[in-house]
């Protein structure tokens, strides 16, 4: 297990990235090479793809190709993908993917086309594959194969109301204990607001809980076994669920990003732990623009180990035209397009774009954007892409994490039983890996 992990998660990604640094045939590159072809793109209809597709006509003009977009909400997109891939169909050439969630699973099923050679040999002069976040490239490399190119960088960050903190005599929290103390104080100081809100919906919990677990110093797996019942695991489960149970909104077990953003934006939550992608939604209408502070999630015993993920663009292994599909992936993840997307609030997975003067000017326009970028910089440098168990059945592992948290929020089990039940179910999943 250890040797395999070392090979797949450390050595092979390094080789894959090293291969990309080899001299490319950029001089021969011709954007019009596949003129007249049609590329089908299965997109998750989220802000990332929406920002990208604003420039769809530019791609078609540059390449002479037609781009057919098949866009769905996230879960429906996966449903469509599962159907298409199980039928070995070539209907989809390029699809959006979350390597942190389904990467192991899709790679094991052989659904990803291998981009390693194309990222080396078929690149335009200004593409600069090495300029993409190495952490995200590594997270998208399975068994030595580069499976997707990062479109954005994101992760859960901590939103807090500076006016309420000031009114209650609180400083910005530096540790998880500070968050608990602030929630306690706000509960008495301003009873009209919900002190703390984060994800409580079962399948959505792992996204934010993982950050809490890692900050506290816990891990999902130790010695090949599920590790939620370790002291750190229990502390993370207890702290996360207690914050939501004692200081969260009623009905928090059904809360995902939509409810959290709506609650915070309406001024009815003092602290929210939610995705960096939600900044635009939270700031809609401008009510929270001047009274919001942003931070990476405060430190635990292990410091700050933020969750850092990103959507990627993958070429289907069943595509009959992977080379043309790669041209679209390359265009979509190029510095030029990622800069344009960044100016629409999509955090760029390229450090150079984040330093671009035009982007910096946009960031400097609002203090909240500066704090957002500062938090993202921490995510980019310290982040972990582990959301749920690093196993093929990652999506199913998230169910059991969410179940344990919900059992505690609803007081249906004590922490010892909730973690033991989760560990038992998760050990069965790990054994299938």
């Amino acid at each position: 297990m250890k040797a395999r992990t070392l090979a797949t998660q450390v050595a092979l990604p390094v080789i894959a990235i090293a291969v990309m640094t080899a001299p490319s045939r950029a001089a021969d590159f011709d954007w019009m090479k596949f003129k007249g072809k049609t590329v089908t793109f299965l997109a998750n209809n989220n802000p990332v793809s929406q920002a990208l597709l604003t420039y769809k006509a530019d791609f078609e003009k540059l390449t002479g190709m037609a781009l057919k977009v098949d866009s769905y909400q996230e879960q429906q997109m996966r449903q469509r993908l599962v159907t298409v891939m199980n039928a070995d169909s070539d209907e989809v050439d390029v699809f959006m993917t979350l390597p942190s969630r389904e990467g192991e699973q899709f790679a094991a099923a052989g659904w990803y086309g291998d981009l390693t050679a194309m990222a080396k040999n078929e690149v335009a002069k200004d593409y600069d594959p090495n300029g993409l976040s190495q952490a995200l490239l590594k997270a998208a490399t399975f068994g030595g194969k580069l499976t997707s190119m990062p479109m954005n960088i994101e992760g859960p960050i901590f939103y807090y109301r500076t006016d309420i903190f000031k009114k209650c005599g609180l400083e910005a929290p530096k540790t998880i204990k500070d968050v608990e103390a602030a929630a306690e104080k706000i509960k008495t100081c301003d009873s009209t607001v919900t002190p703390f809100v984060s994800r409580g919906l079962k399948p959505a919990v792992a996204y934010t809980f993982s950050n809490m677990l890692h900050n506290i110093g816990g891990s999902y797996i130790a010695n090949g076994k599920s590790n939620l019942c370790s002291a750190k695991g229990k502390e993370a489960l207890d702290t996360y669920s207690r914050l939501l149970r004692d200081f969260g909104p009623p009905g928090v077990v059904n809360y995902s990003f939509q409810q959290i953003s709506a609650l915070y934006r309406s001024g009815r939550a003092a602290m929210a732990f939610e995705s960096s992608n939600e900044l635009r939604t939270v700031m809609e209408g401008g009510a929270r623009l001047k009274d919001t502070g942003l931070l990476p999630f405060p430190a635990g015993d292990a410091g700050q180990v933020p969750t850092t993920i990103g959507w990627g663009m993958a070429v289907s292994s069943h595509s009959k035209q992977p080379d043309a599909a790669w041209y679209f992936v390359q265009w979509a993840t190029s510095p030029e397009i990622q800069k344009k997307m960044a100016l629409q609030g999509i955090a760029p997975p390229r450090p150079a774009v984040a330093e671009d003067p035009e982007y910096r000017k946009w960031i400097d326009e609002e203090p909240v954007r500066k704090e957002w970028q500062a938090a993202l910089d921490v995510l980019a440098t310290k982040g972990s892409s582990e959301v749920g168990y690093p196993i093929v059945a990652n999506p199913q592992s998230r169910e059991f994490i969410g179940q344990a948290v919900q059992d505690l929020i609803l007081k249906q089990k004590p922490v010892d039983q909730a973690c033991a039940d989760a560990d038992k179910a998760l050990d069965a999943l790990i054994s299938l890996n």
Binding site: A108, K202, P203, P250, G251, V253, A262, A393, P395
Partner: protein, 295 residues
């Protein structure tokens, strides 16, 4: 023309008609049969988390017996079915009687009464999700305005099934009412005239005449709603995704997640075929009942 020639012409015409109809018949049968046969075949396969497929025989079906989540899903499905069907039949008959007797009700009011079932269930689910949000929703605001304690609605393991049943009943009661209203309008006036001459009270008339005569119509409405209710999916998927915990995890939701989120298409197919058998069973039972109450 001789008899033999006439017979030959008739036979030829029949053949021509059969040939013309054949493509449509073959297409229709294939469209119905292929997914069913394919799902039956999938039910005998097993898929690993990575999507690797192998023949499993009856393993998926024997796994059902020991799967606690299957039995829980079955219980949730039946609880939701019984509660929703009861609410929809009782209130559907009541609404039909109101619409039947209130003949001066303006058309627009009648249309409003029956409009919920024209709304896509996803839209209805989203609307009720907002209304029932314990923090921001109108439902708790109204309860508190009336001096009543707020409720967790869809976030409470004990309230989620009644709440989902209420949402579904809000949407589909008018549909039942429309069917029953059709039945009421077709009842023979002579029996009511006879009851009136005999001095029967309105309640006795309803109990002894209207209800028995309406039974075949009510059973038809129950059959139509049973098929939908046993396959309960959209409103739950939008509002709770089977939660909190697994309190609203119906068989259909469970099967969907097993298939499309955990990629075990084989076990999901076995689950869905079992659910299909339950739906068939319910429809057959109601059909027998309809035969018994026909007049």
């Amino acid at each position: 023309m001789s008899d033999t020639a006439a017979t030959l012409t008739q036979d030829r015409q029949k053949l021509e008609m059969a040939a013309l109809a054949a493509p449509a018949v073959v297409f229709t049968v294939a469209m119905i049969a292929f997914p069913v046969v394919y799902t039956i075949w999938l039910g005998f396969q097993t898929f690993s988390s990575a999507g690797k497929q192998s023949f499993a025989g009856l393993a998926n079906y024997s796994k059902l017996i020991s799967d606690a989540e299957f039995w829980h899903g079955l219980w949730v499905t039946i609880a939701l079915y019984v509660l929703s069907l009861t609410l929809q039949l009782v209130f559907g008959i009541w609404l039909a009687l109101v619409l039947f007797h209130a003949k001066r009700l303006p058309g627009i009011v009648r249309s409003l009464f029956i409009s919920p079932f024209m709304m896509p269930p996803v839209v209805a689910g989203m609307m009720w999700l907002v209304i029932l949000d314990p923090s921001l929703g109108a439902a708790n605001y109204i309860l508190q305005w009336l001096g009543l304690p707020p409720s967790d609605w869809l976030a409470s393991p004990s309230l989620v099934i009644p709440t989902v049943a209420l949402i579904d009943s809000w949407q589909w009661t008018p549909y039942v009412a429309l069917i029953v209203l059709g039945g009421l309008q077709s009842l023979p006036p002579s029996v009511y005239e006879a009851a009136q001459i005999d001095g029967a009270s309105p309640f006795k008339t309803f109990q002894r005449i209207t209800l028995p005569l309406l039974l075949p119509t009510i059973v038809t409405a129950a059959i139509l709603r049973s098929v939908d209710l046993l396959r309960f999916f959209d409103i739950i998927y939008i509002t709770t995704q089977g939660g909190p915990g697994n309190a609203s995890n119906t068989l259909n939701i469970y099967g969907f997640r097993v298939g499309f989120e955990f990629f075990n298409i084989g076990y999901a197919s076995a689950l869905m075929l079992t659910l299909t058998a339950i739906v068939f069973g319910a429809v057959l039972a109601f059909n027998r009942l309809r035969g018994a109450v026909a007049w």
